[in-house]
Subunit: 190 residues, 2 copies
């Protein structure tokens, strides 16, 4: 059998739904998929290795990469730029390795425009009430900020119609099991 | 959330590939799916219960059910009729329960014509050589019968293009894991 190209999985969902937690747990449990390394303009933290944790770039370099359309998606967050390098993802997929991106709804939209055949997984909260309680538990935001975030989440939930799979993040273990199943099943797809 | 209708999975593949073995092992391991009960005209064996192992019917009754289009698929095997009763499958799916059928390629074709939205899984041998060795191991058939069977298998392998998923039955445990993953993933499909 010919070496099969890898699949690109996009894990997205409203802010606060637990994408990071779920992905970290998934990657710990399941090492047959590759997490895409992002390019960023933020300063390396202690112990972070270029090409392992991130591809570190200056703002000029980053903007030049944007101009050359070198990102599957990118965004500016808190004065730093973050992007998913197209070449790195392509190279990994060509080698037959599956890749998973964990990005917000806007990023997922960009990937949908730029990449054919991505598999989009929407991670949803059990309910908006539950999302509110999760964001409150973080205790890092003002009431106004929380209200805005929930309003956005409500809008973002409508986006799920553009996704291939819906995974409700009720119990993290369940969500991981479902995402693993989606990865295995997609490899069997004809 | 509204109760979701169950999914109908069709496990098929060339004769001798191990559909029965895989399904038996799957159902032992995984009790969240229902194996469809067939209608048959063959005599009940000792201990078999009507409505549990099979729905037993006379040949006249069976033929009348065929006329009324009451089967998703049916076939005559060794002078006995076997069929998958449409009503039983529909009722089970309506109750939100997934159903799996284990049928040959011809039966799967019939189901494709009669049922919308079935999920078709093609169970394939690792190779035709492997299939030959499996059939030989059974030791129940003449050389000519085996040759015919392999010729048919070759034709049947071409059928896989009409299926949603391909599972290679190399190791039974792997095949089961993949089918389980397909069932879980399909429940998350949007």
């Amino acid at each position: 059998m010919l070496e099969q190209k890898g699949n690109l999985f996009i894990l997205s969902g409203p802010s606060g739904v637990g994408k990071g937690t779920v992905l970290d747990a998934l990657l710990k449990d399941y090492n047959d998929i590759c997490y895409s390394i992002s390019t960023t303009t933020r300063e390396p933290r202690k112990g972070e290795v270029d090409g392992e944790d991130y591809f570190f770039a200056s703002e000029d370099e980053f903007k030049s990469l944007v101009k050359k359309d070198e990102f599957l998606e990118w965004a500016k967050v808190h004065n730093n730029y973050y992007g998913t390098p197209k070449k790195y993802v392509d190279k990994t997929l060509e080698a037959g390795q599956d890749v998973i991106l964990e990005i917000d709804i806007q990023g997922a939209k960009q990937v949908r425009d730029k990449f054919d055949g991505g598999i989009f997984i929407f991670l949803a909260p059990p309910s908006l009430k539950e999302l509110e309680s999760r964001i409150n538990k973080r205790g890092t935001e003002t009431k106004d900020a929380i209200a805005t975030r929930l309003e956005n989440a409500n809008k973002e939930l409508e986006e799920k119609k553009n996704y291939d799979y819906l995974v409700v993040n009720d119990q993290v273990e369940d969500a991981i099991k479902k995402i693993e199943a989606i990865i295995i099943a997609e490899r069997c797809r004809l």
